[in-house]
Structure formats: C-alpha cells, structure tokens
Amino acid sequence: MKSFKNIFKLGTLDVLNLLWRSFFIQSVWNFKSMVSIGFCFALSSIGRKVCKNREDYVAFVKRHLAFFNAHPYFASYAIGAIARLEQELHEKDGPTDPTTIEKFKNALISPLGAIGDRCCWAVIRPASLIFGLVGLAYIENQNLKILYLFLTFVLYNIPHIYIRLKGIIDGYSSGFEIYKKIKIENFEKLLNFFKILAIIGLGMLISWDIREALTHHWLMFLLFIVTLISSFWMRLKKQMFYTPVMVSLVLAIVCGVI
C-alpha cells in the first residue's frame, strides 16, 4: 500500500494548478501532435519543480511535446500518472526511465479516448442537455428558464470537474497502475443515473410535443410522428444527422404549402 506521504507529495495547490491547466489541454490542438502542447502546458508546473537544471527541463518539454491525444476530461488521468512518473524519474526512487514514460503515455491514448467518448459525449452531455431542453419546453417564464439553464450547467459540470479532479488524484496515486481505474465499470452508477435522466427527459419531450402538435392541427401531429420515426430509423441505419433533418424540413415545407 502506498504511504500517505507518497500520494501527497503533490500538494493541494499543485493539484488545483494541474486542474486549472487541464482546462486548456485542447487549446493548441493541431494535426501533427494533437493535444501535446496543452498536455505539456498542464505538466509544465510539475516539470519546473522536479527538473534540476535547464537541460533537464528542455528534455522534459521535448518529451511531452511528442504526439499525444486523449479525451479532454479523461486526459487528467494521464496528467496525474505522468506527473508522478516524472517525479520518480527525477528523484531516482523508481524504475522509471524517459522511454518507459513515453511508451506508457502512448499506451494510454486509446483507453482514455474510448472511455471519455462513451461516458461524456455519449451519455453525460446529451443527458444533461435533454434535462435542459425539458425545462425550456415546460417552463414558460423566462427568468425561470434562465434559472433552469443554470441548474443544467451545474448538473453537467459536477461530473465534469469530478472526472478531471479524480483523474489527477487517481493518476498521481496509481502511476503505472492507472489503467486498472480506466474502466467503464467504474463509472457505471454515474452513467446509469444520466441514462435514466435522459430517457425520462425524452419521454417528457415527446409528451410535450404531442400536446403542442395536437393543439394546432392534426397534420402537425402526423408530421411529428413521421419525423420522429423516420429520423430514429435513419439514424439507426447510420445515416449522417443531416439526412433525417433535411427529410424532416422537406416534409415541413410540403405541409406548410398544403
């Protein structure tokens, strides 16, 4: 078991500094090295502390300017782990050498990208946005709508910042062992909560839309049902988003002209 001292060689201010810097990981996204400049920027505060001389720091920056890509939120797991490995490398208390760090960083690219896309882009973000849409649909008062949007903002950013912070702390405390924590199963409860939220929200939006359509004209109700089913089917058939949207808009023009 790792000692408390070992885990917290990184102080609270260091963790907060890494967290703040992690928000800019994609700022200099480019086709040659992807997020490497942002990643290097996040780690540079640690680099300045652990590198003993100028040459050492130049080598550190060069090492981390090499190709790297990850999901922006989950990249914090790599930031935490690499921060620890760099510390070990410079303090010579571990079996780490620069090549191992580079190989380890490359090995993290795929799992961090995959879990990030599956958790954040496929579940948490759409679920939070559906939560926001439900509020905008059901609430009439504009001030309450703004308040509801603020709630949506908080709902999304609690798990967002939690993932970033947990990534840094877990990454730092685990080092090479971090791959054990980058598993979708570890986020199951969080994802289930957001999935249920999203599905209830979609159900509520359908109810609201049916009401909207029926209070206007039967043709609107028909249009709603046809576009709902056809878009669902087309998306299942892997059509790009614009095909169902364009089909729906053409149907809207036809209904509007009739």
Binding site: P72, L129, L223, L249
Partner: protein, 230 residues
C-alpha cells in the same frame, strides 16, 4: 451594425468553450442561444433557436479526433443572423426560424473549415516551439496557449462577421418575393425538427433494459400536460 459586431465577438469567445478551453457546455446552442438573444435584445428568439438547434446536434458525437460539422458554430451563426433579420423584418419572424435552421446546418460545414484552419494554424506553434527547444531556448507555454486562444477567437470572429453580412445582403435580394404566408413553413418546421431531433437522440439510449423509463417519462409528461390543461 455595432450590435452585430458585439454579438460576433461574444460568440467568438463562447466558441472557445467548444473545444479549445473549459468545455463547460457554454458553446452549446441551449446556452449560447439565450446569451446571444439577451445581448441582441431578443431573448425569446435566442431560447427558441437554442432549443431547436440543440435538438439537431444532440446525437452528433465528436469521436476521437474526427472532424464533424461544427454544430455549435452553425447555431451561433444562425442565432446572430436570426436576431438581425427579425429586427429588420419582424413580419417574417416564423419563416426566419425555418431559414435559420437551414442556415445553421449549412454554416456548420463552414464552421468545420474554420476549425480546420485554426488547427492547421496551430501547427506553426508546434514547429516554432520545437525549433526553439532545439536551440536550447525555453518558451513560456502559457503565452503560447494565450496567443493560440486569441488566434482561435479572431478567426471565428471574422467568419461570423463575414457570414452575417453576406447572408443579410443575400436575404435582401429576396425582399420582393417573400410573402407572409411563408410563416406557415416556419411553424411546421418547428414540429418537424422536434420530431427529428428526439428521434435521432433516442438512438443514443436504445438499450432494451432502459426502455421502461421512456414510459415513466411519457407518464410524467402526460400528467404535467394534463394538469396544465385542467
């Protein structure tokens, strides 16, 4: 014109939240729409366009490093132009909603070009940093991040301004042809987008074990609507 410049500047800053920094949802149409609507003096339109355009993009995911149509860019461009056109031609307000949905989709592809340009431009920083490091010179990475964000916002701002001016001029060309009856298309397009957006989004949550929750949602929605009618 001043308000268009202001809106484009705010939208360019909000676009930083899209991918370059923070990613806290502020660039999403549901947030950006009302913010731009409030600043442009038409909060209601901001809410409406934000709601509809959000539904369109909800099921699109930026997987890995793939370049997808920039829905957030398209939505902001559409909200800015929508506010401008509604102020000039309030008689077509419903039809403008339809036009802005179409324009939002088209400009999302232009947004992809803008993002591509920014990312290509960012390669200059990498080359420069590596050259300096080879000479043994250390550059402040914070400064690189700052200038990159500035470049990012500037490119997006220029795209927004040019697009808004061009499209406003283009709309003027059709002044004599447009009739108030076209507003009907706007009303139908709203329902069509609601159906399409929900249909596409439902594919993200299609696992069998969760399907019962749709019924719960429908019931909660149904009871709320019934309560409203009563």
């Amino acid at each position: 014109m001043e308000s268009v410049i202001l809106l484009c500047a705010v939208a360019a800053i909000l676009m930083l939240d899209n991918a370059a920094a923070f990613q806290m949802l502020l660039a999403q149409p549901i947030f950006a729409g009302p913010i731009l609507g409030y600043l442009g003096g038409n909060l209601e339109l901001g809410f409406e366009l934000g709601f509809l355009l959000q539904l369109i993009w909800l099921s699109s995911m930026p997987v890995g490093a793939a370049i997808v149509p920039e829905g957030n860019f398209g939505s902001m461009a559409a909200t800015i132009l929508g506010i401008f056109l509604t102020r000039m031609h309030p008689q077509y307000s419903e039809f403008i909603v339809f036009l802005m949905i179409v324009y939002g989709i088209l400009s999302s592809f232009i947004g992809t070009r803008a993002i591509h340009l920014i990312r290509k431009g960012n390669e200059i920083y990498l080359t420069w940093l590596n050259n300096k490091l080879n000479q043994g010179v250390i550059i402040s990475l914070g400064r690189v991040i700052f200038f990159s964000l500035l470049f990012n916002a500037l490119v997006v701002f220029i795209f927004f301004i040019v697009l808004t001016i061009l499209m406003a001029k283009f709309f003027e060309l059709f002044q004599g042809v447009l009739i108030a009856d076209l507003n009907k298309i706007g009303v139908y397009s709203r329902i069509a987008i609601l159906g399409s957006g929900i249909g596409m989004t439902a594919t993200l949550f299609k696992e069998k074990k969760w399907q019962a929750w749709y019924v719960v949602g429908l019931l909660i929605g149904g009871v709320t609507v019934f309560y409203e009618i009563l």
